[in-house]
């Protein structure tokens, strides 16, 4: 679509070298397509002026780019040291139970993907749960039902 192509040209113009627009262009493509499918990568490559292989090489390096389908909503639980010390594993298990999916997977209706992530940089406000990249702080297992209800509703 031309809108995406034009937007990427604008991104490229922000940098002294067009290649620097790769990450923002990939992020945009992921937002448009839901995840970085082969088509999304082709579209991104075309707009950047490079090959889909190059886009795949870059995208697959980073945790926030999904090269396989994910749910419409993303629930991420930090289980690194400080959050683990605060009981992150229990929060994760509560979410697995409440959502009915094992961490790493997507609910059957394709709506919600649950996964663990490494340190989100909120260690003093543990346990951190990121809902579509917005941090919820001080999350405990008791908070999980309300959180899930909120995600399902929104």
């Amino acid at each position: 679509m031309n809108a995406y192509y034009d937007e990427v040209q604008e991104l490229k113009a922000q940098y002294p070298d067009w290649r620097s627009a790769a990450l923002p262009a990939l992020r945009l493509a992921q937002e448009r397509h839901g995840y970085l499918s082969a088509d999304a990568l082709r579209e991104c490559a075309d707009a950047l002026g490079t090959t889909p292989a190059f886009c795949e090489a870059v995208a697959s390096f980073y945790d926030m780019f999904h090269l396989r389908p994910v749910g419409r909503r993303l629930v991420e639980v930090c289980t690194n040291v400080s959050c683990a010390l605060a009981g992150a594993q229990q929060v994760l298990e509560a979410l697995e139970h409440e959502l009915g999916v094992a961490a790493g997977g997507t609910t059957d209706d394709g709506e919600i993907t649950l996964r663990t992530v490494e340190c989100l940089g909120g260690c003093g406000w543990a346990t951190i749960v990121a809902l579509d990249h917005t941090y919820r702080t001080h999350v405990g297992p008791d908070d999980v039902p309300a959180i899930v209800e909120e995600i399902r509703g929104g």
């Binding site: 289980t79 400080s82 790493g104």
Partner: protein, 442 residues
Amino acid sequence: MAEARQIVFADAAERDLTKLAEYEAVGGYAMLEKARAMTPQAVIEEVVASELRGRGGAFFPTGRKWSFVPKPEQNPNPHYLLVNADESEPGSFKDNEIMARVPHRLIEGCLITAHAVESTHVFIYIRGEYTGPYRVLVAALEELHERPDLRGDVTIVLHRGAGAYICGEETALLESLEGKRGQPRTKPPFPAIAGLYASPTVVNNVETIATVPQVLAMGGAEYAKLGVPDSRGTRVVSISGHVARPGNYEIENGVSLRSLIDDLGGGVPDGHALKAVIPGGSSTVILRADEIDVGYDFNSLLKLNTAMGSAGVVAIDERCCMVQLGIRVSEFYEHESCGKCTPCREGTRWTTAILRRLEGGTATQGDLDLLLDVCDRINGKCLCPLGETAAIAIASYVDKFPGEFQAHIDEGGCPFGDSSPLHDVLAPVAQHAHHPSATVPA
């Protein structure tokens, strides 16, 4: 304990310094004007005099780093300032709060630094997950855009990362900003000579840059009166783990680590006892509870073979198993290893496997020796510090808690079991075994 003088967070408790008007009301951007009236060399000298050192983890003298940038006659390429806002070290969350609460102080610091290193192009590379601070910075930059008198001829580009701890390493940061896979480069050449787009580039941590306006306000010499030798001034410390009041605290360098845990942090809650402290983020040598009567500064911690690193202090109580800690930390590095150099790529996977065997109770004495030997074989051989600090940290758990590791072998299992909060914690690197369709690793 009396609150240390707030420098990075000056006036932030009293006012909403995310607003440009509020920031200006307390003297914000006045130092930018002052700096612009000085020569770049004079600004650098002021920062040198302050003995300010990088707050990202490497602790390199800031003024000296700026002075490495070549003169235009020596090198005709444009200069770049790259602010490392890719904070991802487990235990550190100070830059998160700094960007969220004093964005204009950071921006003023960027503009002053740009003047000092003769750059008109600033990039702030912020980790992709930091949506909150990102939005704050976007708003602050929009306010700046309306003030060409402040902005001058400097362009500030806010660039978002996409989830890779290794991109916090300065050369990997450069690669990522250049649109590639974030794998570190060999040095030389150093970024100050050939960094972004092979041009002279200064890379500094968020907190370092955010300190600069106040350094100019107080004067370098005054700043250097705070703290202790080789660790001047104040810094923001992240305190987390088993403490009653986790959070970011700006302290004067040199105060005792114990005071951070007990006074600022409020001590270990719920009747538990302190067992261990990670002093500077997971990449540092761990300390036992009996070792924390030490000044929180470079020299004092060096005597204990450890470091302030990115100032992420994590308190661990007696319930926790050090082997489990080892697994979780090893899994972190395994997941975050960029894969470029052999020892880190293969070694972190191997240490995780050996630690799991220890935890599972089937390890032999030879396995423990092997673990230490593998760590030794990684250390000093890698392309960048990621693999090496992983090895150092893991080896320190064995070194500080030898009895515990031995017990896992002798007793054929973990003495702590699931009473330890670190028991069976699911890490991203283990996730695809946990769920068949889990994306690997993205």
